[in-house]
Symmetry: C2
Subunit: 196 residues, 2 copies
């Protein structure tokens, strides 16, 4: 029916993303369905496509929400920490991933078709998280080597990410690794040891 008790496109977009994020968190990427999102907010599927444009854009918007939450989580987890902030950052990385398995996993389960580029708004959110890490690495680096912070941060991010993936997908359990977080921290320490 027309617009008896309608929302504006902006409000509806927000409702869809919020409900979508909830469903992604509960069902996980493999069982996520746009139709189910429509059902839970009481709209027809067509509406979701009118507002978001496509399934891929919907998932991207939901993942964008997850990135926002992740960035906030890292920020709040680091606020007020004075010593060993690098360790706190790694802890927070793992914590968020474990606390939000499904939503976090969707960040990597979903990929745009190879010919399509990430929307700028999404790239900015990824960069925001990265910049946070770059800053922490820079603070932990001797002043003479601060210029290497961005490259080192990217690499450490990848290392920690790998440990996080192997933790959540069961690889570490299969291999008998009992302390994934400790291992990740050890690798970061090894890398920092290169600089005094």
């Amino acid at each position: 029916m027309g617009r008896r008790s309608d929302h504006t496109r902006e409000q509806l977009r927000e409702m869809i993303i919020a409900a979508g994020h909830r469903e992604m968190a509960e069902a996980g990427y493999a069982r996520f369905s746009a139709r189910q999102v429509a059902k839970t907010i009481g709209y027809a599927i067509g509406t979701i496509y009118n507002v978001l444009g496509s399934y891929d854009q919907l998932v991207l918007a939901i993942n964008g929400r997850t990135l926002d939450l992740w960035c906030d989580y890292l920020g709040s987890r680091l606020a007020g920490v004075n010593d060993d902030r690098l360790r706190a950052a790694i802890d927070a990385y793992f914590e968020f991933a474990i606390l939000n398995r499904n939503a976090w996993g969707a960040l990597y389960d979903f990929r745009l078709p190879p010919d399509e580029a990430l929307p700028e708004y999404y790239a900015a959110k990824v960069t925001a998280i990265t910049d946070l890490v770059v800053q922490e690495v820079a603070s932990a680096l001797p002043p003479a080597h601060i210029g290497e912070a961005p490259a080192l941060a990217r690499s450490l991010l990848a290392s920690v990410h790998g440990h996080c993936v192997f933790t959540l997908n069961g690889t570490f359990q299969l291999l008998g690794e009992g302390d994934p977080l400790g291992a990740a921290l050890a690798r970061v320490r090894d890398a920092m040891a290169r600089f005094g």
Copy 2:
């Protein structure tokens, strides 16, 4: 119809996995379809379910094939290498992933439902690859620390894996990382530097 020019279950299983692996390599996990596999080998879908049991078992079998190929690739790439075998191993890890983007990606895109355990045959294949790496790490370690090889190998595997993931999913490109392989190697060197 019946079994006029039929194959034995064993032969058919092999045909399905081979064709499935081919389709996975071409289409990727997101676009992979059991029905398409059936079509390319000229059988009905039902047959695939009779032979493999379920979609998940089919993908697992295909991924198992990929693990076999991966293990062989690592082995042959290391054969005859005398110095810096660790570097050769990392190179081979990246090479295989890049040369087999889709099949390699499916290894991690697919996950069994959380309540189901990996079949033993599959776990064995994962362990086979890991053992290869453990051996290389052990060789590169001072004799006094050989006992730490398994744990270190798992951790280095995770680190390299993280770099590999960020390379293939575009994260490194987004962040301006131009030498992912070099970064991965640097992290491994840092870790080995801990031991003399």
